[in-house]
């Protein structure tokens, strides 16, 4: 290994540490984050000492967080973001200012200088976007009310980090030296910031889509991947240039592309990079835990760690109560926002650089933050194992406690007006079904009525798998979009051929397309209800209800047979029309004959 270049041996070390530690942690039920952190501790300077340039790696891996926010943005259309404006500013500022104030006050009460207290308070008030979003993603919490609230607060923190960083030089010992310069610069900076954000929004609206289309049309998939990455890197660099949060810029770009037709391609292209870099980021956090400081003053470290965690927990739990979050969701919500975040690393290092406090203080605080990142997944586990089961036993209406793997024998994809009827009838029979719905508003609505519905796009293989497609028997395919419906069929045929599909067809084209894919149990979505209406018309005309029913049944049977006859000719329009016309004439003739027969027998007929 001595002759291998550093990047090669380093990659080997990281990858093998991750490959060993993460599956192991998963197996132990600890979650992937702990696995990465443990891998980092293992290979870091305080473990085997295989890697030493921890800070460089940490900076590099922070790009994983940037990619993650880009992906989060992709899932969020501008209108939904706009709907979130109040939680973002309201609850976000409440969390950051509240926590910072509380922590600063506590530190000052212990006799720490106010500058140090303030910086420590502000830094520790921030939370780890990486851990929180990753965990929420793993637990499918994003669509729940606590997920939305948590996400809003994290978004605000990303914005808040900028003024916090700007504040540091003012507090430091170096303050005053170049105040005049700073003043004139500030206006320029503001202009630059506005220009860049405006540029991103404008460019994202007008330029990006045609550009992506042009690249997609070139037909080289790796170039599309390169373009996706380039997009995020470019925006990150721009934001960096004007001193804004890279993650925020990437998020903005994501939101702008959320409505574009390339959303899914971008997602699939960026996803693996995000996963790996985020893993690397957690490894770097693990490596950066300074066990030296910990050994030197374990008591102080414990006080800081426990102190800030418990203060934040208490305050955020209080906020959760104010927000009226379902109380089963409150502990996880509070914990996910209580741990220190990656921004704290930057804040404390910058503070040390600006001589707000000594480097030892910085490494003490950074150590506390890193440890909190290690502790919080463990605490989360404790909540899962100890606290939540007790809630489950309470006799309260339980809101969605989304576990990871679903086992129900039936999966319902699409819980709109069609799927709901199917699902409710099954439910009434006591038959469990896993319901997937991709419309967040619909999820919210039906959840309010107490249905267990998972937010998720059934066209995604991983989600289907999580929904239990491998073990389920039946898939009720009730999504309204024909393209999605067919995509799901293709996925199921390829990966879960044992699943029996019961499908809803929008129209004849859809019906034919489903048949082409071997789906035989298909219902045209308005066929049966139209027949009912036809019956009602006959009844209003005076036909006895039972005869109207018989007529409808016969028409139904005939129509179903006609469909079978037409299917082989679905691609030949003229033949199709010929078959349909012949069929219609046959039926008309047959029914006319029967009517005549009946009329002959019928003494007083009601209508003809």
């Amino acid at each position: 290994m001595t002759n291998a270049p550093a990047w090669l041996s380093n990659s080997f070390i990281y990858l093998s540490a991750a490959v060993v530690a993460v599956p192991l942690a998963k197996k132990l039920g600890l979650g992937s984050i702990i696995g990465y952190l443990a891998a980092g501790i293992g290979i870091g300077p305080w473990g085997l000492g295989l890697v030493t340039n921890v800070q460089d790696i940490l900076h590099f891996a922070e790009f994983g967080v940037v990619l993650m926010l880009f992906l989060v943005g992709l899932e969020l259309e501008p209108t939904r973001l706009w709907n979130l404006r109040r939680p973002i500013y309201g609850w976000g500022s409440a969390q950051v200012l509240g926590c910072a104030g509380l922590l600063t006050g506590a530190a000052m009460a212990f006799g720490v200088g106010w500058q140090t207290s303030l910086v420590a308070g502000l830094g520790l008030a921030l939370s780890s976007t990486a851990i929180a979003l990753q965990t929420m993603g793993e637990r499918n919490l994003m669509p729940t009310s606590s997920g939305q609230a948590g996400f809003s607060i994290l978004l605000f923190q990303d914005v808040a980090a900028i003024p916090i960083l700007a504040l540091l030089p003012l507090l430091g010992a170096v303050v005053g030296e170049n105040e005049a310069i700073a003043h004139s610069n500030r206006a320029l900076e503001a202009i630059k910031i506005i220009a860049v954000i405006g540029g991103i929004i404008l460019g994202g609206r007008l330029l990006l889509r045609p550009l992506l289309r042009w690249i997609a049309n070139s037909g080289t998939p790796e170039i599309f991947t390169a373009a996706s990455l380039l997009l995020v890197v470019g925006i990150a660099a721009l934001m960096q240039l004007v001193g804004l949060s890279m993650a925020l810029g990437a998020f903005l770009a994501g939101v702008l592309l959320a409505e574009s037709e390339y959303r899914r391609e971008l997602e699939t292209d960026i996803e693996p990079f995000k996963g790996l870099l985020l893993g690397l980021f957690f490894i770097a956090v693990g490596m950066s835990i300074d066990f030296g400081v910990l050994m030197k003053s374990p008591g102080l470290m414990a006080v800081i760690l426990l102190g800030f965690l418990s203060l934040k927990l208490a305050l955020i739990y209080g906020l959760a109560t104010l927000m009226k979050l379902p109380y089963q969701e409150r502990p996880v919500f509070a914990l996910l926002l209580a741990q220190g975040g990656e921004f704290a690393f930057v804040v404390f290092q910058a503070a040390a650089g600006a001589q707000v406090f000594a480097p030892e203080t910085a490494s003490l605080l950074i150590g506390a933050v890193a440890l909190s990142m290690l502790v919080s997944p463990l605490l989360l586990l404790a909540i899962d194992k100890l606290l939540l089961p007790r809630y489950a036993n309470c006799n309260t209406p339980q809101l969605e406690e989304i576990s990871e793997q679903q086992e129900a024998p039936i999966i319902i994809a699409g819980f709109g007006r069609y799927g709901q009827i199917v699902g409710r009838m099954l439910l009434a029979q006591g038959i469990g079904a896993t319901v997937l719905e991709h419309d967040a508003d619909m999820v919210e609505t039906v959840r309010a009525f107490g249905y267990r519905v998972f937010y998720g796009d059934a066209t995604r293989l991983d989600l289907l798998r999580t929904a239990g497609a491998a073990s389920a028997k039946i898939l009720v395919l009730s999504v309204d979009d024909m393209e999605q419906s067919l995509k799901i069929v293709d996925l199921v045929n390829e990966h879960f051929p044992h699943l029996q599909i019961v499908a809803r067809a929008r129209d004849v084209t859809h019906w034919n397309a489903l048949r082409d894919r071997g789906v035989m149990r298909v219902e045209r979505e308005v066929f049966e209800s139209s027949l009912r209406s036809a019956r009602t018309v006959l009844e209003l005309l005076g036909q006895p209800p039972h005869e109207a029913r018989q007529t409808a049944m016969r028409f139904r049977q005939h129509n179903l047979e006609l469909f079978e006859q037409m299917y082989p000719h679905r691609k030949d329009r003229s033949k199709l029309i010929a078959v349909a016309t012949r069929g219609r004439l046959q039926l008309e003739e047959q029914m006319a004959q029967e009517r005549a027969q009946l009329a002959r027998r019928r003494p007083r007929h009601w209508h003809d």
Binding site: Q550, M553, R556, Q557, L560, E564, R600, R601, R602, P603
Partner: protein
């Protein structure tokens, strides 16, 4: 797209078994009986409630199956001293005037019909002193005459009483009897002693009135 619940083989079948049970999951005799019939090559089985869960009987299909068969078997539990509702609807819809009976209605002439039934009550209950108050035979004339009016012979029924409680061995034996009978048909010893069926022609005058203003709808509907 009605599910076709008839056994697919049709080429050499001369027995048409119509099995009617509204809740197969509760059946402990009729179901094995049906399965035993399905296993025989000469038998075509129609699972009525599974083929027509919406009570929309395909008359043409049923008449074709009847025309092909020499022996028609009605297999069902006795409900309200008669056949299950869908079986009765089948009679109403399929055995039409001018096809099965009446003027020109001789499609079934000379065929045999065999009732294979179960009852919930034990044999002792079908007794003037039992809770069913009549001997079981007293409930059969409607069956028999329906068959005879179509020009068919009504073979002596095979009945298993107390079907919910009867022992496993008795059930097995019953099924075996049923199977052997289907296999050996028409070489049944008792058939030689059976009287030829009397001819019963229903005149047109007993049918729904055509063109006349006097008859009411109610009186005109249905078989004789």
């Amino acid at each position: 797209m009605t599910a076709n619940q008839t056994t697919p083989k049709t080429a050499d079948t001369d027995i048409y078994v119509i099995a009617a049970h509204p809740s197969w999951r509760e059946s402990r005799v009729n179901r094995p009986l049906m399965q035993a019939a399905q296993a025989l090559p000469r038998v075509q089985v129609q699972d009525l409630y599974s083929s027509y869960p919406d009570y929309a009987i395909d008359v043409a299909r049923e008449q074709t199956a009847l025309a092909r068969a020499q022996l028609v078997v009605l297999l069902h539990p006795i409900q309200w001293y008669s056949m299950p509702a869908l079986q009765k609807l089948w009679l109403d819809d399929v055995l039409t005037y001018g096809w099965a009976y009446g003027e020109g209605g001789n499609a079934l002439q000379g065929k045999d019909l065999w009732l294979v039934a179960t009852t919930g009550g034990p044999e002792t209950s079908y007794h003037p002193q039992g809770y069913n108050r009549y001997f079981f035979d007293a409930f059969l004339p409607a069956y028999e005459q329906s068959v005879v009016v179509c020009g068919m012979r009504f073979l002596p029924p095979l009945v298993l009483h107390g079907a919910h409680r009867v022992g496993k061995e008795a059930v097995a034996q019953h099924i075996e009897t049923f199977r052997q009978r289907l296999q050996s048909y028409p070489a049944w010893p008792e058939l030689d002693e059976l009287e030829q069926c009397p001819a019963c022609l229903v005149p047109m005058t007993d049918r729904p009135v055509e063109h006349h203003e006097t008859a009411s709808i109610e009186a005109s509907v249905g078989a004789p």
